[in-house]
């Protein structure tokens, strides 16, 4: 009940601001918060990145190990994506098996990487049908300031761009050192918009998320095609809103890509 009262007060406050074309942190509706990305922060991981997106803080770690391929794709490497909404990150996160929101986040991030063919999985085959490189993407959310989806997507891509295959460590491949980079072919970027009554805002904070109707995530590729879409939340969207968000996503992802990831 306490939360309900707080939410109602916050909602009234944010809603009133919205009518004046304002947001609580002074941003305009289509503006992202400040982004700070650091790569190679975990030495033991094959690739890693941390991101601060406003108050949201999370770390993506990539581990690569040899293992068995899936029977239906015997000469493709494997991607396994997991996201941990740690109980330290928010009073509403709890320890234990992932809840549906964590499962959804992880699966959308995974889809963005997989469907955009960001990683050339054919090049991760060691012995066809027997041994391939398995890429474990683990995202640890340390502080939930809202818009975990976009933060996680950016951190994952940043980490993958720096990831090296541990060929020497496992005595595989003909490389005598561990500096072979992952074969990256595409840079997918997630852009999440949320609806507040009839307004569309990008990069919602956790307060805005709590009162928001629905989130729509669009994952856009380097060549402007779309590789994944996810609507999340119980309010419906109109086709016009969806088209508008798609256009915003295209512009926004291009900006983010140029600023942070194009090497």
């Amino acid at each position: 009940m306490n939360d309900d009262v707080m939410n109602q007060l916050k909602k009234d406050y944010l809603y009133k601001l919205m009518l004046e074309n304002k947001r609580a942190d002074g941003r305009n509706f289509e503006e992202y918060r400040e982004i700070e990305i650091q790569t190679d922060i975990i030495d033991k991981a094959e690739g890693s990145a941390s991101i601060k997106l406003g108050n949201t803080y999370l770390v993506a770690g990539i581990k690569i190990q040899p293992g068995e391929p899936f029977p239906d794709t015997p000469d493709d490497g494997v991607i396994i994506t997991n996201i941990e909404l740690l109980p330290m990150a928010s009073p509403i996160f709890e320890a234990g098996p992932p809840r549906e929101d964590a499962v959804e986040l992880a699966r959308v991030i995974d889809r963005g990487i997989r469907e955009s063919k960001a990683i050339d999985l054919k090049q991760l085959c060691i012995t066809p049908g027997e041994k391939v490189w398995i890429i474990f993407i683990d995202i640890h959310v340390l502080n939930d300031g809202g818009n975990i989806m976009d933060a996680a997507s950016l951190a994952t891509t940043a980490a993958l761009l720096k990831t090296k295959i541990p060929e020497k460590q496992y005595q595989l491949g003909n490389n005598n050192n561990d500096d072979k980079r992952l074969p990256i072919r595409n840079i997918p970027i997630a852009t999440t918009a949320t609806t507040l009554e009839n307004t569309i805002i990008l990069d919602p904070t956790n307060d805005e998320e709590q009162i928001a109707g629905t989130k729509l995530t669009i994952i856009t590729n380097t060549n402007n095609t779309i590789s994944a879409i996810q609507k999340s939340g119980r309010e419906p969207l109109t086709p016009t809103q969806i088209q508008h968000i798609t256009t915003l996503a295209k512009e926004q992802s291009q900006k983010l890509r140029e600023k942070f990831l194009e090497v």
Binding site: E100, R107, R111, S116, I226, I229, K231, L237, P239, I242
Partner: protein, 273 residues
């Protein structure tokens, strides 16, 4: 299953359909005895059963909401529903499908009418052949109406995909497995989109067209859902009329007429909702 050489020859897909054609659908309403509402759909080779219980008391109690009903949705695939046996029980995919399906239906349910209670939807996929989440939503929507849950309207769902670089409506298994994109969409009778997902590769222009195609598909499915409900309740009225006409002693005609009218009114409400 191997990849066909081409998916579309002379404008006809491998199962004989045109690009904007949906698979044959049959809907049966009220197929389960214990559930408050139920529906069985065969959609192409998909066989999906939906059951609705509620509004009923919430267990565990801490989940109950003081001002509205909660909606729970469980999507489950039978282990024998697919070519290679699926491990029974929930997995990450079914958790996600359950979440988005619930969110696809919630906007049309008057949850505020039933505080502190739950409306539970169970979807069981008996045979899967691409598009099971959309079939599950279609079945659940009809089952909710069959359970008499007050709704703003039905929800209809349909997927659009891309094969051979061309957009096609309602993917079947081969098209789903080897296609270039898959985009399930659900909408209300008024055209509001309540579920939207996509994976694969679409240009923004293709995406725009895909939404229009999916909405057309949803409209066609809506007609089938509506007709199934009308069929079901027409049958109910007909069978209930008979015993009322048979008694040959004192005719209590006035009462009969009143009852009949009442019956018809309620059934029509269900049909048009």
């Amino acid at each position: 299953m191997t990849k066909p050489e081409s998916f579309i020859t002379n404008g006809i897909r491998i199962d004989g359909r045109k690009p904007e054609e949906i698979r044959p659908i049959t809907i049966e309403v009220g197929v389960l005895d214990r559930a408050d509402g139920s529906c069985y759909i065969e959609h192409g080779l998909n066989k999906v059963l939906a059951a609705v219980y509620g509004p009923r008391e919430v267990h565990p109690r801490h989940m109950q909401k003081p001002t509205t009903a909660i909606v729970r949705f469980r999507y489950n695939m039978a282990s024998f529903s697919v070519e290679e046996r699926k491990r029974p029980g929930p997995d990450r995919r079914s958790v996600e499908v359950s979440k988005v399906s619930r969110e696809a239906l919630e906007p049309v349910i008057f949850t505020e009418y039933f505080p502190k209670s739950s409306i539970d939807v169970f979807v069981e996929v008996l045979q899967a052949d691409a598009g099971t989440r959309t079939v599950g939503i279609n079945a659940a929507s009809v089952a909710l109406a069959d359970a008499g849950i007050p709704m703003r309207g039905l929800v209809s769902a349909c997927a659009v995909g891309k094969v051979d670089g061309e957009l096609v409506l309602d993917l079947m298994k081969e098209e789903d497995n080897y296609g270039e994109a898959d985009m399930p969409l659900a909408m209300t009778q008024t055209g509001e989109i309540t579920l939207l997902q996509m994976d694969g590769n679409l240009t923004p222009e293709e995406f725009e067209k895909a939404i229009e195609m999916a909405q057309e598909g949803c409209k066609r499915i809506y007609e089938i859902q509506r007709n199934a409900l009308i069929e079901r309740y027409k049958r109910d009225i007909e069978t209930e009329e008979e015993p009322l006409e048979t008694p040959e002693e004192e005719p209590v005609e006035v009462e009969t007429v009143v009852e009949n009218e009442a019956e018809e009114e309620t059934s029509e409400e269900v049909e048009s909702e």
